[in-house]
């Protein structure tokens, strides 16, 4: 029957399966975006960069001069690291968009400059100041210095605020989403630029762990075991996240925080902390997708930039903020894209956007979105 359209059924099943694999990445990434947007109303344009950070975290855990950590621990550690960084970003920069007092961002900028200058000075006149970076056996160059200074400044500012040395008020105004979008977009470009500077653009090798090497002949196609694992891992994580948000008490708090943060804090729930953790969780999902992607694609500073636009289209098609929508649409569009690669490969990179345009015309809230 399928032969009517010029493609034998075997090939078609193979392509469907491949679509499902790509769909797993779309689903994982758009899930993180949907969680962040649905619950926090932040359009997180840094998601692609955070996905890339996940892959690089896995790479650096494996290839560092101190202690080499393999794929399986990295699967846990890298999302934790990336999620932690995300939380620092949310606390010190993104949430500050809704705060009138600019003390905290100013402290961040001041400590960033101070740390960077200290690093640069120690680099120029090694001997006078103890060379912090060469202590850990790592050659310092500007990109690394920027990175270290940024992370140091984030930690320092958070430390000040955690110990109540810095008395900054919580959210006291509502800024347009657009500012969050611009801020995270800017952050993404800076992070990617630093990584291109440091690691080049052609990517770094990361091999498939020995346990998942090889493949299985399914009769209609050769399925690498690693790809099968990606589908399973992604499905498990997606369903677990959906269950947590829709079926547990924590999830109920989260949803309540979106609906009415003031009332929820009146019940004694620390809403800003909840928001920070949720952002961290969404970012950790991106980090996890990055680790899963590392052995398939080369670990490449631009890997996120290439993907993020597609993932945003997925979120828009699924309905901004709809968790289920993000998951289902992610897998579905993976399949659609896979099929396009068979019938008309030239259109493979645009088909998702065509669908997005059609959905926006017919059902502007997205396939699974509630109409406001």
């Amino acid at each position: 029957m399928f032969d009517l359209i010029g493609v034998p059924p075997q090939a078609l099943f193979g392509q469907l399966l491949l679509g499902l694999i790509n769909g797993s990445f779309y689903a994982l990434l758009s899930l993180g975006l949907a969680v962040i947007f649905g619950l926090l109303n932040i359009i997180n344009f840094a998601h692609g960069a955070q996905y890339m950070l996940g892959a690089f975290a896995a790479y650096l855990l494996l290839n560092n001069p101190l202690y080499s950590i393999g794929y399986w621990p990295a699967l846990i550690l890298a999302p934790l690291i990336v999620g932690g960084l995300g939380m620092l970003l949310e606390r010190n920069l993104i949430s500050q968009l809704n705060v009138r007092s600019k003390t905290r961002p100013l402290i961040f900028i001041a400590s960033f400059v101070a740390i960077f200058l200290a690093l640069a000075a120690s680099h120029l006149s090694s001997g006078a100041v103890p060379d912090l970076v060469s202590l850990v056996g790592y050659k310092l160059d500007p990109a690394a210095a920027y990175g270290i200074a940024a992370i140091g400044a984030l930690l320092f500012t958070s430390f000040l605020s955690a110990t109540n040395l810095l008395n900054a008020p919580d959210a006291d105004q509502n800024t347009d989403h657009l500012y969050g979008l611009l801020l995270t977009f800017g952050l993404a470009i800076i992070i990617q630029g630093l990584f291109v500077n440091q690691y080049g653009s052609s990517g770094l090798p990361y091999t498939i762990p020995d346990e998942l090497r090889g493949g299985q002949n399914l009769g209609f196609m050769f399925l690498p075991i690693y790809r099968g694992w990606v589908i399973v891992a992604s499905l498990v994580v997606c369903i677990a996240t959906w269950l947590i948000i829709e079926k547990t008490k924590l999830g109920a708090y989260l949803r309540a925080a979106t609906e009415n943060p003031t009332l929820l804090s009146a019940f004694g729930v620390n809403v800003p902390r909840l928001v920070t953790f949720t952002y961290g969780f969404g970012v950790a999902l991106a980090g996890l997708a990055g680790v899963l992607a590392a052995p398939i694609y080369s670990v490449n500073p631009n890997m996120g930039a290439d993907l993020i636009i597609v993932v945003f289209a997925v979120v828009v098609i699924g309905g901004m903020g709809s968790i289920l929508g993000a998951i289902v649409t992610g897998f579905m569009l993976g399949i659609v894209e896979g099929l396009t690669k068979v019938f008309y490969p030239e259109a493979a990179s645009v088909v998702i956007f065509v669908i997005m345009a059609i959905v926006l015309l017919i059902k502007p809230a997205g396939l699974f979105g509630r109409t406001a």
């Binding site: 034998p8 075997q10 090939a11 193979g14 392509q15 491949l18 679509g19 694999i21 790509n22 630029g193 291109v196 080049g200 653009s201 052609s202 990517g203 770094l204 090798p205 091999t207 498939i208 493949g215 196609m221 050769f222 690498p224 690693y226 790809r227 398939i296 694609y297 080369s298 490449n300 631009n302 890997m303 290439d306 993907l307 896979g338 690669k341 068979v342 490969p345 030239e346 493979a348 990179s349």
Partner: protein, 403 residues
């Protein structure tokens, strides 16, 4: 005493005046991809290569005041054309070098002709640059699709790889490479059973690889470059293409691709290139200097930038002016080329620079003696046979020269 002082001052003034008069200003613009998939094969490394050429030419001693500037074209023709226009109109740029991405290169070639400047292309591949689209202002320096197709294609068909399937980058370069290779394969008695056009900068090639797998071809020809080639080779290994009895032919492979893939994945790959850093003492010496500044060994594109700039400066020195682009190119065509990296060669009437071409095989991990020791030389094609014969390119310049 007083007279002596005046005399010295006058002599100094005279020397300064003649010095100033002899200083011919030359501005070189390195226009390439500095941030995306082709940034490692050219990028900042090409700027370093251009500056090394200026240094080695001892430009200042020969009365040339050379400036090197750079910009990122982001693989977009409109950005490249606008940058070129601004460089020519406002910055006084005389020469544009490098410019990978054949689509962008063809667009830049047009504007260079319009402004009568010089374009030395090292990074792009399309043989159209010296074929139907040749101009009196463009020189195609390092390699081209015809050379790659001929070198790799005929070698593989000779080994029995006569049924081909192409995975092609969907723009000018990929199309030209597929066309040129398919012709070589067919001329050698082989067949092409199919091809698929993948969008530029594709992350996932599994779908295309699956189509290649079910096509029954013996050889899967990768008519793509940079990040696309890396991803397709990596994923071909994952999908067991080679275990399944098919072989990969990387039609355009750069040193940085192999570095990124690692020898374990890339071993055994056969391909054609114009340059390798470990060919002889001269190339090794250059590679060491290059590596000190960039941390990497040079690719053939970066080596081509060095060699091209060197030859350009010789022509400008002879003419004592860089202003008339077509005149500089004519001078470059009239003098044979000779430099430490590509040896002796020449620039033909159609703008094609010719030199020896090499067939390499990627070493096995246990054969490599250290980092960047990746290639094993299989065969050398002499310059005269490595590139498309002058008469077959269809370049209008050749026809008018013959008349």
């Amino acid at each position: 005493m007083k007279i002596r002082t005046v005399f010295i001052a006058g002599a100094a003034l005279l020397a300064a005046a003649t010095g100033a008069a002899a200083q011919t200003p030359v501005k070189i613009g390195v226009l390439n991809d500095r941030s995306s998939l082709y940034a490692d094969l050219g990028g900042e490394g090409s700027v370093v290569a251009a500056k090394l050429a200026v240094e080695d030419f001892k430009a200042a001693e020969k009365g040339l005041k050379v400036d090197v500037i750079a910009a990122d074209h982001q693989n977009k023709s409109d950005i490249a054309v606008n940058t070129a226009r601004e460089w020519f109109d406002q910055q006084g740029v005389d020469l544009i070098v490098d410019t990978p991405n054949s689509g962008v290169a063809l667009a830049v070639s047009e504007i260079v002709k319009e402004k009568n400047k010089v374009f030395i292309n090292s990074g792009a591949a399309s043989s159209d640059l010296t074929g139907a689209k040749c101009t009196p202002n463009t020189i195609h320096w390092t390699y081209d699709t015809w050379q790659l197709a001929n070198g790799t294609g005929s070698a593989i068909v000779k080994q029995g790889g006569d049924k081909w399937f192409f995975i092609t980058a969907d723009y000018a370069f990929g199309h030209a490479l597929e066309r040129d290779t398919a012709k070589v394969v067919k001329d050698a008695g082989g067949t092409v059973v199919g091809s698929v056009k993948a969008p530029l900068n594709t992350q996932d090639f599994s779908s295309f690889l699956l189509q290649a797998q079910s096509s029954g071809a013996k050889i899967v020809g990768l008519a793509n470059a940079g990040g696309d080639t890396i991803n397709s080779i990596k994923q071909a290994a994952e999908f067991g293409i080679v275990q399944g009895g098919q072989n990969l032919a990387g039609l355009l492979i750069f040193l940085t691709d192999i570095h990124s893939l690692g020898l374990k994945t890339a071993q055994g790959l056969i391909f054609t290139a114009s340059f390798y850093w470990d060919l002889n003492d001269d190339t090794r010496a250059f590679a060491d200097r290059f590596q000190k500044q960039t941390g990497r060994k040079p690719t053939m594109v970066q080596a081509g930038v060095y060699s091209g700039v060197l030859h350009y400066l010789k022509a400008v020195e002879a003419l004592k002016s860089a202003k008339d682009g077509a005149a500089v190119v004519t001078q470059m065509k009239a003098t044979p080329t000779d430099d430490p990296l590509f040896g002796k060669g020449e620039v033909r009437a159609d703008g094609r620079k010719i030199h020896d071409s090499y067939l390499f095989e990627v070493k096995k991990p246990e054969e490599a003696k250290g980092p960047w020791d990746y290639y094993k030389l299989l065969a050398t094609t002499p310059a005269a046979k490595a590139f498309r014969p002058l008469s077959e390119g269809g370049c209008p310049l050749v026809a008018s020269a013959a008349k």
